[in-house]
């Protein structure tokens, strides 16, 4: 019996070995649209080499021996979620649907994309643009002035977009508004350089109008600036020039952390001496500033950035206020810091942005002695989630502004000598606002993207409740051509100054149509816009502005010729009207044409050379028709024309020239540069300085021809 059993067992084993039981698994692999997936891997987890791939119809047949019956079948394809099925549970043909791996992809999309900025800004400016565009003069905010939408008429860096006052637009750095982002500020807010160093900038998105509700507090345009989040290489940059010395260190600490530390000392004597007599109105100017930026990708999900900037500046210039000529002396000390934290979880981002800004300013001219202390804090908590083709953003932000104005001003605006009667203006305005927003970006199809959003201070306010709302739609005809139609109602709070000492809410209605053609070697841009800005600000001596209405046309074209030559030109037409104390007048920036052009040759092996040219009509001002002697002040009191903005300054023309040469040595380089501003020494009228009884005047020009040169040493390691 034993023999029989043994024989049976042996035979059975032999049979099993000779003809092992096999498992046949068949099926199809499809995507969610029921399209076959060709090339999907189907294999047992224990031995991928035993696997097969799906055919053109998504079909597969997998033969396995019985040893795999307790294994797991894996079905995978690149970009799709992997499916696992215990082989023992498979009883019939499989019908597998693979889902797109949205988990990891959406992380990336969220991290890499800012759908509002990418689709609803009109221009993206990168760091190199700041250096290569002659009109930018290597200043991040001056790089914006090249755009046709920029209607700066005061040679300042403070963005003025589509005819609006500078204070209506906002510069937002890493999600935080920087009020008055300029240096060498005068009492009217004019500043000749921005507080931003191009080396810390990654990119700038410009909204010529229709600022995104996610950032807010703007009723004109907005410039969204972000600092770099990756350091390409370590570098020490040492610069010296006719009016400054400075150093900039970019240093990686680890693979995921780097910092940038920089400082500059600006001085005036050599510049003034060399450019005399064209710089004789400058007695002295100087700046000392230090900036520090650190970025760390703490983990795959969390990144932190901290930026702090301290500046001390002063200037002493010859100026005239009505008929009193004197020395305008100003000092400013400022420190602001910004902290950003961003946490990515699944397909969403939570971000925190916080900042403070402390500023102390003093300005003196004649009997004017203005002391301002400004303190601002800002914090925001935002949440962004990508849901398929849609992105939803919502957030809360708190803004605290506190200004102490302690001014001694002229009691009679026309009498500004030190011995003239004075008025004391003390004001202590504060503003606390808690604002919230909700924004949706919907990708309607491959070509159409819709943006809609609201913003309000309704949760808490100590002023009027407002509701900002906007709608925008971008149409991509193809990769090169796109249209943007946008409109909305917007709000902002003003920044108080010596003329308008309180906070008040301003609003605007805007509509714009932009067309962009991005070719491989050229860009073409056309825009039409309309906006009406409601106002309540005091226009010195002339009344209260009720509204400013602007509409216009903008055209820009740039083209690269060969490898080294770049040409740029833009044309703007701006029709502007303003209503002051109930009457409608021509606006100060009612400009029939505003042309900006530049041409540059940039061959790093030879030389960089560029010319830039701007021409426009002069801005409008109100005529002084007569003057009456006032024995109390011993000054004449001017009488203004009843028609506001009835005259205009002469046409403005400026031609600038710059030259640079890169001298490489080992892994390093020296850059020598020379620039000549206002090459033709054109006398562009800026303001009229009257004689004592206003019977004659002399037009004070913008900066006449000036020469500037220097060296930059780049040490890479």
């Amino acid at each position: 019996m034993k023999t029989i059993i043994s024989l049976f067992v042996t035979t059975a084993l032999y049979s099993a070995m000779a003809f092992p039981q096999s498992i046949t698994i068949t099926g199809t692999v499809m995507d969610k649209d029921e399209q076959p997936i060709y090339g999907a891997n189907i294999y047992p987890s224990g031995n991928p080499l035993k696997g097969v791939i799906s055919d053109l119809d998504g079909a597969f047949t997998l033969e396995l021996n019985s040893a795999f019956k307790n294994d797991t079948l894996i079905i995978s394809y690149i970009g799709f979620e992997t499916i696992r099925i215990p082989i023992a549970t498979i009883e019939q043909a499989l019908s597998i649907t693979l889902k797109i791996n949205t988990q990891s992809l959406s992380d990336i999309q969220v991290v890499a994309r800012d759908p509002i900025a990418e689709n609803f800004s009109v221009k993206k400016i990168e760091k190199l643009d700041i250096y290569t565009e002659p009109l930018a003069q290597a200043d991040p905010l001056k790089a914006i002035t090249i755009l046709p939408a920029s209607t700066n008429t005061d040679e300042s860096a403070n963005p003025s977009l589509r005819g609006s006052d500078g204070d209506r637009s906002r510069v937002v750095l890493n999600g935080v508004p920087i009020y008055e982002p300029v240096r060498f500020s005068q009492i009217n807010g004019t500043g000749y350089f921005s507080v931003l160093n191009p080396e810390i900038i990654k990119e700038q998105y410009v909204y010529a109008s229709n600022p995104p509700v996610s950032l807010g507090n703007s009723s004109a345009g907005l410039v969204q600036v972000s600092t770099i989040d990756k350091l390409t290489f370590n570098q020490l940059q040492i610069s010296t020039s006719l009016a400054s010395t400075g150093a900039f260190l970019s240093q990686g600490i680890s693979e995921k952390t780097f910092f940038q530390l920089y400082g500059n000392n600006q001085f005036s004597k050599a510049f003034i001496d060399l450019n005399s007599p064209n710089a004789d109105h400058l007695n002295s100017f100087g700046t000392q500033d230090v900036g520090f930026n650190i970025h760390s990708d703490v983990s795959k999900n969390l990144s932190i950035n901290f930026f702090t900037y301290t500046v001390k500046e002063d200037f002493n210039i010859n100026a005239q206020i009505f008929t009193y000529p004197g020395k305008a002396i100003a000092q400013t000390k400022r420190n602001f810091s910004i902290l950003n934290a961003r946490y990515i979880h699944s397909n969403s981002i939570i971000s925190f942005n916080g900042s403070y800004d402390i500023r102390q300013e003093n300005f003196r001219l004649g009997n004017i002695d203005s002391d301002n202390h400004r303190f601002t804090t800002y914090s925001s908590l935002n949440y962004q989630v990508s849901l398929g083709a849609n992105t939803i953003e919502t957030g809360l932000n708190h803004n605290h502004n506190h200004i102490t104005i302690d001014d001694q001003t002229s009691e009679f605006f026309y009498a500004a000598s030190p011995s003239s009667p004075i008025d004391s203006v003390s004001s202590n305005p504060r503003r606390n606002s808690l604002e919230s927003f909700f924004h949706v970006t919907q990708k309607l199809s491959e070509s159409w993207i819709l943006s809609s959003g609201i913003r309000t201070n309704a949760l808490y306010n100590d002023t009027n409740t407002y509701w900002t709302s906007q709608l925008g739609i971008r149409y991509y005809l193809n990769n090169e051509h796109s249209f943007l139609l946008s409109g909305g109602k917007y709000h902002n709070y003003n920044t108080p100054n010596s003329f308008n000492t309180e906070y008040f809410l301003q609003s605007s209605y805007q509509a714009a149509l932009d067309y962009t053609w991005r070719g491989s070697a050229h860009n073409f841009y056309v825009a039409l816009f309309y906006k009406k800005e409601n106002d309540n600000s005091d226009i010195q001596n002339l009344g209260t502005r009720n509204f400013l209405q602007s509409s216009g046309l903008e055209i820009a074209y740039d083209r690269i010729f060969g490898n080294w030559i770049k040409f740029y030109t833009s044309f703007s037409f701006l029709d502007q009207k303003e209503k002051i104390s109930g009457e409608i007048y021509q606006g100060t920036k009612d400009l029939d044409y505003f042309v900006k052009s530049s041409i540059s040759y940039n061959n790093p092996n030879v030389v960089g050379i560029s010319f830039s040219f701007i021409t426009r009509p002069g801005t409008h001002y109100t005529e002084i028709t007569s003057a009456n002697y006032d024995p109390n002040t011993d000054f004449y009191k001017p009488e203004f024309s009843s028609v506001i903005n009835n005259l205009s300054y002469s046409e403005y023309n400026i031609l600038n020239f710059s030259l640079n040469k890169i001298i490489p040595f080992r892994d390093n380089s020296i850059i020598a540069f020379l620039s000549v501003n206002n090459l033709l020494n054109t006398h562009n009228e800026q303001i009229l300085n009257y004689n004592r009884d206003y019977t004659s005047y002399e037009a004070e020009p913008f900066q006449l021809r000036s020469v500037y040169f220097g060296l930059v040493l780049n040490l890479n390691y």
């Binding site: 991928p48 791939i53 990891s104 290489f233 690269i560 080294w564 940039n602 892994d667 890479n716």
Partner: protein, 261 residues
Amino acid sequence: MKTIVLLSLLFKLSAPNFSLVSQASTPQLQEVQQQEFPLNGIQDSISKAFDLAFAEKDPSGLDKIKNNLDALSQKRNLRILTYWKAYWGYYKAIYFYANKQEKESEALVDEYIKSLETIENKTAEDYALLALIRGFSIQFKSFIRAPFISSKAASDLKKATELDPENPRVFYVKASSDFYTPKTFGGGKKTEELLTKALALPAQKISNATLPSWGHEEAYEMLLRYYIREGMKEKALKIYSEASTKYPENYNIERMGERIK
């Protein structure tokens, strides 16, 4: 950049067999397989056709592959076809460039960059190829535009890394970018590390003859070139020994090997 072209021109891929499917033993079976799995070994086919195009100064073989890809596109809406057409376009662009047809070469890379850009939900493979082709396109672009293209390529590679941190092609393209970046701009510092990493990673996690597997041979060649450039002879000899064993038919590796022996 001309060096890149030269490198690409001199590639002699050793034609490894990537197919998971059992080899067809009869012509009939081969035909059936070709119908069911038309992209099997597509990477090899393109490389071989490219080599042949140079050897015989006739790109007809390369063009035939494109015709086949187009024909397949008309029958089936396969996502991967966009990838392989772009891969083909990259090689054809190199062919054009080497034959002094720079305009045609530029037009082709521009076309396939746009094509890859339109892929929705790009994978790490898509981004790696996009960065590779962008890198090649820089030579046609002006000094002013080049940094922006580099920046886009860097962005592609960042996304590719996040999607697949262990993809050897991503490391190779990163290394390539670092290798060809002038030292003045910080180039060459990570080449060795990135290429070593590329070589340490499997060409594919799961073998699949329809998907990309390039990068290893290219990494060997670039690492050898890097060691020679940096004067690291011992390391060069060591890597040459490895590379020569794995890719004995690679002309470029052998040529460099002769220089350092």
